[in-house]
């Protein structure tokens, strides 16, 4: 009897419920160089990843987008809590995010921020949660709570914080520091990795590539193209003198008129 059952179980088309879905502990970041540098080979699932960046640099979405896109079918919601600007829907859709799954939350203060992050993380219905707490400081106890909630719900948590918090000790599983270089590349510094070495530096190419929009023809009734923003002073001076001419003959290039 036993051998019959065993033979059945050996068949390739028998599936056992006890095998269950595999719980992944990491998922790939989407950037090959970063995957190599990380000890786990990807973002840690079920834990917090901290990203420290200067106040006016925007690095997080470029970094996280491939991973979010890959993971989004895993659960119902993808949550962004208190982003500094509203994300641009057509751009997100063009990159492959499902807008129906994206949820934006704007809590009023730090307590509500923590509470909503914990609720989303531990519910198990969110594939990824991105939290921005650059304006409000978090203490060690809060960070532990967030990490615990992420572990309960097996959710990836990306926490974006200000650069000044680098000195603060944190229980997060992975800490990265991101900065934009002069040419637009993204320089990442691994500050802390659970189970691995820290100190690696990775450089990623700039996200936005220059694109050329060639104008096939210039419509006659439109104004001419503006000059470079650095020459704007000259532009304004000229336009005051020749505003009348400009209006009567709009297709005359302003630079061709004397001045």
């Amino acid at each position: 009897m036993n051998s019959d059952i065993e033979k059945l179980l050996q068949l390739p088309n028998t599936w056992q419920a006890s095998r269950g879905p595999q719980v992944l502990n990491t998922h790939s970041t989407g950037h090959a160089k970063l995957d190599e540098a990380l000890h786990l080979g990807g973002w840690p699932q079920g834990a917090t990843t901290e990203l420290l960046q200067p106040a006016n640099h925007r690095c997080e979405l470029q970094l996280a987008l491939p991973a979010i896109k890959q993971q989004q079918q895993r659960a119902t919601w993808l949550v962004m809590i208190d982003p500094p600007f509203p994300p641009f829907a057509p751009a997100l859709a063009a990159h492959g995010l499902d807008l129906d799954r994206l949820l934006l939350l704007y809590p009023r203060d730090i307590k509500e921020l923590l509470w909503s992050a914990v609720q989303c993380l531990q519910s198990g219905n969110c594939s990824s949660v991105l939290t921005w707490s650059q304006r409000s400081p978090l203490v060690d106890k809060d960070l532990r709570r967030l990490q615990q909630a992420a572990a309960t719900g097996q959710c990836w948590h990306l926490l974006v914080r200000a650069l000044q918090t680098q000195q603060q000790a944190s229980p997060s599983a992975l800490r990265l520091r991101a900065e934009r270089q002069l040419e637009g590349q993204l320089k990442l510094n691994i500050l802390k990795q659970r189970g691995g070495w820290s100190g690696q530096e990775v450089e990623l190419a700039a996200a936005a590539q220059a694109h050329a929009h060639e104008l096939d023809s210039r419509p006659v009734h439109l104004a001419s193209l503006p000059s470079h923003p650095a020459d704007e002073g000259k532009f304004i001076q000229r336009s005051r003198q020749h505003a009348q001419i400009h209006q009567l003959y709009p297709n005359i290039d302003s630079s061709s008129v004397g001045g």
Partner: protein, 539 residues
């Protein structure tokens, strides 16, 4: 032939009369069960509870007598009360100096509250049988059970269930059975006549009909033994009529029935004869049955008032369980409900809870209620809690996958997360984005606060290459560039011109991808204002 007719015949009528003699008292919940409570109407006592009866207070007494009786106890010495006996206020208490609890609580009678309570009870009784009617305008319900025996597995089961649920509600009730509604109600007033019903009931365990002929015989016998003098003052017979019968020497109902029909009609009128015939079952007694309500309303009254949120949790839970039972019996689901609190100073406050998906689970309702109540401030003690919901929809059964692919803890519904967040943060701080079709970037996205139609199915998403050059972050209002910022920008692409909205305010913009030490940005030159603006960030 006779067998066929037997199987297709209607079941024998079996009426249950539920009389609630103390509905006005039972409405109110006392904090201390030892306190005496009386209901007053005008200047007279209307109903008394057991503790008050022990003090010697009877219904029909005047209020002053009752107060004197409550005060003249062995424990009291000198009277030092300050209550004035000249006017009856809403709640008047008589303090006994030995204890600090008021001895006697008085309450004005409120007929509307009683009526509402009777209507709620009728809706509760609807779960047992569709044939529920009120006995005129009083405190009794009539249920026709003959056709429902098969569903409940026998008369014993059915009556046990009814009694159990009434016990949980803590109501004084008198049950009586008969084959006509009027007979059932009349028999309830003289319970010693229907002792046999208790024993007979326990024998009726079969699911099919009862032994109708034997039952009818026994009921007729009890009716015949009914004492005329002990008939209630309410309908169907007036006091004058009862006095007339007593004068001609009739003591029992059976003697009345044995009078010839023609002379009853001649002496006491055709309507009196009709009453007799309806009681005995010779004529049909048509009742107006209630129809189920399309909304839910339940309330609880508290004499001493509820002051804090913790005290509200217990009654809230009971009301929500009642709500869930109502929804399940009627196969409905709700999309939202509201709590109303009525305070002692005639103020009322409301707490509304909306759900993003319709369901009928009381524990989720309670979670959301508790979340909302903690943010709610209670200014004065609450006398009545009411739960009301009219957003009821037909129940939709949803199918779920047997083995979920997500992490192990995804047992909460996706909508529960939305509801919890919306309850705490407020509905307008939580939204989804929508992609709209327009030329101007700021018009290309809209927000949506509705979460009702989320699908969790896997979707095939097309990648739109033309839009991949758009920035990921868009500023809500484009900011003009300062001179210093302009100096630092280097343009990386050629112009992308948008000329639109000529019908409102013409927008002529040339968009460029620009770069400065902080990253890549999306700037444009506005021909209308002749200025450079920053509109978005990349990354």
């Amino acid at each position: 032939m006779s067998e066929l007719s037997q199987s297709h015949s209607t079941p024998a009528p079996l009426w249950l009369a539920l009389r609630f003699p103390r509905v006005a008292l039972d409405l109110l919940n006392k904090r201390n069960p030892q306190q005496a409570l009386v209901i007053i109407e005008g200047n007279r006592i209307f109903q008394t509870c057991d503790q008050a009866q022990r003090l010697g207070i009877q219904s029909g007494m005047s209020v002053q007598t009752a107060l004197l009786l409550s005060q003249s106890d062995d424990e009291t010495e000198a009277l030092q009360t300050e209550t004035s006996h000249t006017q009856v206020v809403h709640i008047e208490t008589a303090q006994s100096p030995s204890s600090d609890q008021p001895k006697l609580l008085m309450r004005e009678r409120c007929p509307q509250q009683e009526q509402r309570h009777m209507q709620q009870l009728a809706q509760w009784a609807y779960q047992f049988t569709p044939y529920v009617s009120h006995w005129q305008q009083s405190d009794s319900l009539l249920l026709e059970l003959g056709s429902c025996l098969a569903l409940f597995g026998g008369l014993t089961q059915l009556l046990d269930t009814i009694e159990q649920q009434l016990l949980v509600k803590q109501l004084h009730v008198q049950l009586s059975l008969a084959h006509t509604p009027k007979a059932a109600w009349l028999l309830g007033w003289q319970p010693h006549l229907i002792d046999w019903q208790q024993r007979w009931r326990e024998e009726q365990t079969s699911a099919n009909s009862i032994d109708a002929s034997w039952f009818e015989q026994s009921v007729t016998q009890s009716l015949n033994n009914m004492m005329l003098l002990q008939l209630p003052e309410q309908a169907p017979f007036t006091q004058k009529r009862l006095q007339q019968w007593q004068n001609i020497g009739l003591k029992r109902f059976g003697e009345l029935l044995s009078l010839p029909r023609a002379s009853i009609a001649k002496r006491y009128g055709k309507s009196c004869l009709k009453q007799f015939e309806q009681i005995t079952g010779s004529e049909i007694d048509l009742q107006t049955y209630i129809s189920p309500r399309s909304d839910f309303f339940a309330e609880r009254h508290y004499l001493s008032g509820l002051e804090s949120v913790d005290m509200l949790e217990q009654p809230a839970q009971e009301l929500l369980i009642e709500f869930q039972q109502f929804l399940r019996h009627q196969q409905l689901q709700t999309e939202g409900f509201s709590w109303r609190f009525f305070h002692f100073d005639r103020q009322d406050s409301r707490v509304e809870i909306e759900l993003s998906s319709a369901h009928s689970q009381a524990d989720i309702f309670f979670q959301l209620t508790r979340l909302q109540l903690h943010q709610h401030r209670i200014d004065s003690p609450i006398e009545t809690i009411a739960l009301h919901s009219d957003k009821l929809v037909r129940a939709k059964m949803q199918s779920q996958t047997l083995f979920s692919d997500c992490g192990q803890q995804s047992n909460t519904d996706a909508h529960l997360l939305i509801d919890t967040l919306a309850t705490r943060l407020g509905k307008n701080r939580l939204y989804r984005l929508q992609s709209l079709s327009d030329h101007l970037p700021e018009c290309r996205q809209g927000v949506s606060h509705e979460f009702k139609n989320t699908t969790t199915k896997v979707k095939e998403l097309g990648i739109n290459t033309a839009d991949q050059n758009l920035p990921l972050w868009l500023l809500p209002n484009p900011t003009p560039l300062r001179r210093s910022q302009q100096q630092a920008m280097t343009l990386l692409s050629s112009a992308y011109r948008i000329d639109s909205h000529w019908w409102r305010q013409r927008q002529q913009r040339d968009y460029f991808l620009a770069h400065d030490p902080q990253g890549h940005h999306w700037i444009y030159f506005d021909h209308g204002q002749k200025r450079w603006f920053l509109h978005g960030h990349y990354g």
